[in-house]
Amino acid sequence: MNNHINCLHCIVPPHMLESMLANGNEAQKKVALNAIGISGGIRGHRQALASAVAYLTPVTAPGKHRTVYTANDGSSLPGQQVRDEGQPPSGDVAVNEAYDGAGDTYDLYWDIYQRNSLDGNGLHLDSTVHYQQNYDNAFWNGQQMVYGDGDGQLFNRFTIAVDVIGHELTHGVTQYMSNLDYQGQSGALNESFSDVFGSLVKQRKLNQTADQADWLIGEGLLTASVHGVALRSMKAPGTAYDDPVLGKDPQPADMAHYVNTTQDNGGVHINSGIPNHAFYLTAVAIGGYAWEKAGKIWYAAGRDKFRSTTDFQGAADLTTQTAGELFGTDGAEQQAVKNAWIRVGITPGAPQTQPQPQPQPQPGGCVTAPAAIIRSLFGGS
């Protein structure tokens, strides 16, 4: 409903919004304030508008709507609703973790990448907890997240780690962006994207820089009886666990150890170690908060350049190209990306000349009819 207002932040420059405030009528001022409120936190223009604060209405993210269901240990989805957006915490820790983790993930995409939910258009975030009994898994079924309680012997409940929640939700983001085929290298890239942004959700929640973060996926998920710290390590793929029952973490860190297998859709959870490590190396080389630059490069490449069939070489080429576009050709950021891929055994090539994908809708539908909206705001036409 509010698409036109919400979308102002990305089409109307801040100085224009300020002029709308200074010179517009009441309705125009409200619209401008709304738009600034949404983008103000990221663009820093709120201070300049202090004098107009009387007009400010409480600003919330435009599309954050979380609903948590319980399957009551059965298999029906989505199950029985237990907590909807804005409702107080439940007495059930899994419900609250699913709710809070979905919020942390929504906030990373909105605050940092200006993406309004998974589809860029405020898609509701539905999660189901207590799926089946002793269920050692969490998955994205194409429409929602699903979490098991774990068997208690090897695995704890899957909502325990916020990066697992960010991982599952990012499968939704990927589905609406490049829709990377869940098979072979494109599938491993799909997995890696989920690990990357899952880890960034955790790092941002903990306010950690790249060198402070643990870069683990699923920390806390393994019970105390398992020899292991997590399920995957982006910093040191292959070292997350080594246990008599679970076996050893099979992830490679570079192309020399790429695993050819028909299981797991061609090893999508195994070979994801390679692009995972490339992201880690990039983020550490750039320094600071990983979501700010490395994350932005990966996000923009995934949104604008990846296609369903992109493989590791394509990812290396396209993230390197994106780093140049965002931060300057041959700048420190692009060098960091290039060196990272080389270290995992892939040499980024020249910019690809493949056909560009269709433009993706931005939060609130940026690409549609902004000119008419601006004209009407300024009383033209």
């Binding site: 050692d136 998955f139 079924n141 429409q143 499968h171 869940y182 299981q263 797991d264 859709n265 959870h269």
Partner: protein, 102 residues
């Protein structure tokens, strides 16, 4: 009769496997398995059963059964397991969990 069972995928990406040779099973164990295979109509199931919406991190089951003269493989994603196949998969999953059939 020989059975090769693999449950792969899942968020953890840790496979669960079982190789069963009916000659090495107790007679009642073997009979239980054959009954579940018959009830599943295993040899009439399609070789691949995938969901319309692919999703991610779901378990995938691969079951190959050799019961001369027939050999058949069924690969099925966990969210689209046919009801009649479920008891066989649960049984094989439990056998694999014991770790005695690797």
């Amino acid at each position: 009769m020989r059975i090769e069972f693999v449950r792969s995928g899942g968020f953890a990406g840790i496979s669960l496997t079982a190789r069963v040779d009916s000659e090495k099973l107790a007679p009642d164990e073997s009979a239980t398995l054959e009954q579940k295979i018959n009830e599943a109509g295993f040899f009439d199931l399609p070789g691949q059963i995938k969901p319309a919406s692919p999703g991610a991190d779901m378990f995938e089951y691969s079951v190959t059964i050799s019961l001369p003269p027939r050999t058949h493989t069924v690969i099925v994603s966990e969210t689209v397991v046919p009801e009649r196949l479920r008891p066989l998969l649960d049984h094989l999953t439990n056998l694999a969990r014991t770790g005695k059939y690797r």
